[in-house]
Amino acid sequence: MKRRPGKGKTRNTGRRAFLRSLGKAAASVGAALVGGAGMFGHSSTGRAAVAKPAPPEIPGYDWNKHRWGYGIDANRCIGCLRCVEACKAENDVFLSAHHFRTWVERYVWLDGEERPRVDSHADPGNIAASGSEKQFRFDNRYRDEKVYKAFFVPKICNHCRHPSCVSVCPTGATFKTDDGAVLIDHSYCIGCQYCVQACPYGARFFDPRTHVTEKCTWCYHRITKGLKPACVEVCPVNARIFGDLNNQASDISKFLRENRVQVLKPETGNAPTCFYVGLDKEVS
């Protein structure tokens, strides 16, 4: 799946230009047939008839030059939930205990128990502790227990190489970019939620305000300007790592080089590009 720079670029540009013009033609024919372009909701982007959209027009950014990757060192996570708060604020994620682009899970084995007790900050007990569905914290429920082992695991969209959410989307509104992110064209999504079903990781949700599906974008608006995703930016312990896999000196390349990493649910064949250190067999 690796793209050869240079050669691939020209070929792709030609094909995209062709598809774009094809799309424009199809969109205008469709609009003429129905007598109004508004019905299609996306005629301005002119990408009808192509499942894969044209590259975003971001000044100074070429998605062929990047291949983003995400790392999580679960050993480092302290469950402070700055990442969750930052994500909600940065991306205007619906403030409730049921809509998250990223979340943190807590695994606790009590003395003598075989299986862990698992919860996230969305757990009713934790919401009660925070006092609001709009604020997040882990309560102190194990204070008087004998804890055998415990750790946190941050979760996020895995931006899979073979994303099942993309393959099931009936319109192509959700797509994999050439730089590795899985995004959604909100103006084209019909809100069928087939992708919500198909994601094995529960990373997608239906936004009750916009009536379309939502998910993590790795803060695409930030990373294409050379910034880090909000969750990575605010993590006080560097549990979240982000960078360009094409760049040998990037944080993520270093992370992958220096660690033996795992991915979540490898048996699905989705091939996540979110790599973990410090997982446990009980984490799924």
């Binding site: 199809a26 469709g30 019905m39 299609f40 909701g41 996306h42 990408r47 009808a48 008839a49 192509v50 499942a51 619906f94 409730s96 205990a97 049921h98 809509h99 998250f100 979340w103 899970e105 698992v118 996230s120 900050h121 969305a122 979760k155 099942s164 993309v166 393959s167 099931v168 989307c169 009936p170 319109t171 192509g172 509104a173 084209y188 999504c189 019909i190 809100g191 069928c192 939620q193 087939y194 919500v196 079903q197 198909a198 994601c199 094995p200 990781y201 529960g202 990373a203 997608r204 949700f205 239906f206 009750p208 305000r209 916009t210 009536h211 379309v212 599906t213 699905t268 064949g269 799924s284």
Partner: protein
């Protein structure tokens, strides 16, 4: 903008986003209705293609039933979509890797096929009605025939050829349409309860039994309303088919469950907790027991003891009602059941009716739509053999 959402209560651990169950009862009704379409069409084909004379009294009625249900199928999806006004995006730019993208094409193709088949099936009657009528009625029936009023023997044999050909295409189309609905669920690897190769086949067989059952119920009901004698041979034929297919369906559903349990893959603990807990009555008692085993035994006994007359009709209708419940529960237990088992395989959710356009009331309204339409359509296009050449279609 109103931001209304319905979070489901749960036990154990579920992913935070999972607390909002994406597919509601509307997506239960969707496969239920496509199943009725496929099943009703099968009944119609038993006469039109396979020439089984006992099915003749309901052949055209079955066709109308299939058509009425088919016209309401898209309604379930439109009510479910977050952005229904963009529904045609899936047809304008179908994303070919999606099992859902082809729905628009399949449904459109099959609806047209059904309409053509119906047109041919009623053309001769409509021509005669137009000839015997005057004024607006005449124009109406002439329009229904699309101004083709040739009912010479040659023209009629041409019609029959077409009907036969359309039915031949229609059988795989109807079953394709429905098997594909099963594939929509069976092809998802994210849910252990759905991801099974047997899902399309199970959907198909349950479709056939639901179609036969709905026709037994509707045919006897309509005969009662019209105060016409019920053709017992016809009901007997349908009940026999129901009995046979029901056994296959039960076997397949049992096999599917046995597979899940016997393979005992990751998360089997939570699945067992689910089927022995919240699902016990819905699944074992009502879907398998009351909805399948009871009708199989009752129908079997009735055939064995050669029960005839009113007793047979009553028995067949009761069994059909049970089968209709069985198939609805099967859809429910697949669609809602699959979503009640969390993807974490550590928790169980409880579906709650969201109300509104995706709620149970809306779903039942959609489900009653085809019945109302069928009632109206049979006024204009009486499918009954004894009325086919009468000048006056209504009493």
């Amino acid at each position: 903008m109103d931001a209304v959402f319905h979070a489901s209560p749960y036990i154990g651990y579920v992913y935070p986003n999972e607390t909002i169950i994406p597919w509601t009862v509307m997506i239960v009704v969707y496969p239920y209705m496509t199943g009725l379409v496929a099943g009703a069409f099968s009944v119609s084909s038993m006469y039109h293609v396979f020439g089984m004379e006992s099915f003749k009294p309901v052949a055209r009625f079955a066709l109308l039933t299939a058509l009425c249900f088919m016209l309401f199928v898209p309604m379930t999806l439109l009510l479910h979509l977050g952005q229904p006004q963009r529904a045609f995006n899936a047809m304008i730019t179908p994303h070919l890797t999606s099992a859902f993208a082809a729905f628009g094409y399949f449904a459109a193709f099959y609806s047209i096929l059904l309409m053509l088949e119906t047109w041919f099936a009623f053309r001769e009657d409509n021509v005669i009605r137009a000839r015997n009528a005057t004024g607006i009625r005449r124009s109406f029936y002439r329009a229904l025939t699309l101004w083709s009023d040739d009912i010479s023997e040659k023209a009629l044999s041409f019609d029959h050829k077409w009907m036969f050909a359309l039915a031949i295409i229609g059988i795989p189309s109807a079953h394709g349409l429905h098997g594909y609905v099963g594939f929509v669920f069976g092809s998802l690897k994210s849910r252990e309860w759905w991801g099974s190769d047997m899902m399309p086949v199970i959907f198909l067989f349950s479709a056939i039994i639901s179609g036969i059952a709905v026709l037994i119920v509707l045919y006897t009901l309509v005969s009662k309303i019209r105060k016409t004698p019920i053709d017992e041979a016809c009901v007997r034929g349908m009940a026999g088919a129901l009995w046979g297919f029901l056994m296959f369906t039960l076997l397949l559903e049992g096999l599917e469950f046995a597979n899940v349990v016997y393979k005992a893959k990751e998360g089997i603990e939570v699945i067992m907790e689910y089927v022995t807990g919240p699902l016990f009555y819905r699944y074992f008692v009502f879907q398998f027991g009351v909805g399948a085993i009871v009708p199989i035994i009752v129908l079997g006994l009735m055939f064995m003891r050669s029960v005839r007359g009113k007793a047979f009709i009553v028995g067949a209708v009761i069994c059909s009602l049970l089968v209709l419940m069985n198939v609805f529960l099967m859809r429910w237990n697949v669609v809602i059941g699959g979503q009640e088992i969390a993807k974490t395989m550590r928790g169980l959710l409880t579906y709650q009716d969201p109300g509104g356009r995706e709620g149970l009331t809306a779903a039942l309204s959609v489900l009653s739509g085809p019945l109302i339409l069928l009632f109206i359509l049979t006024r204009f296009l009486p499918p009954w053999a004894e009325m086919s050449e009468e000048p006056e279609p209504t009493q």
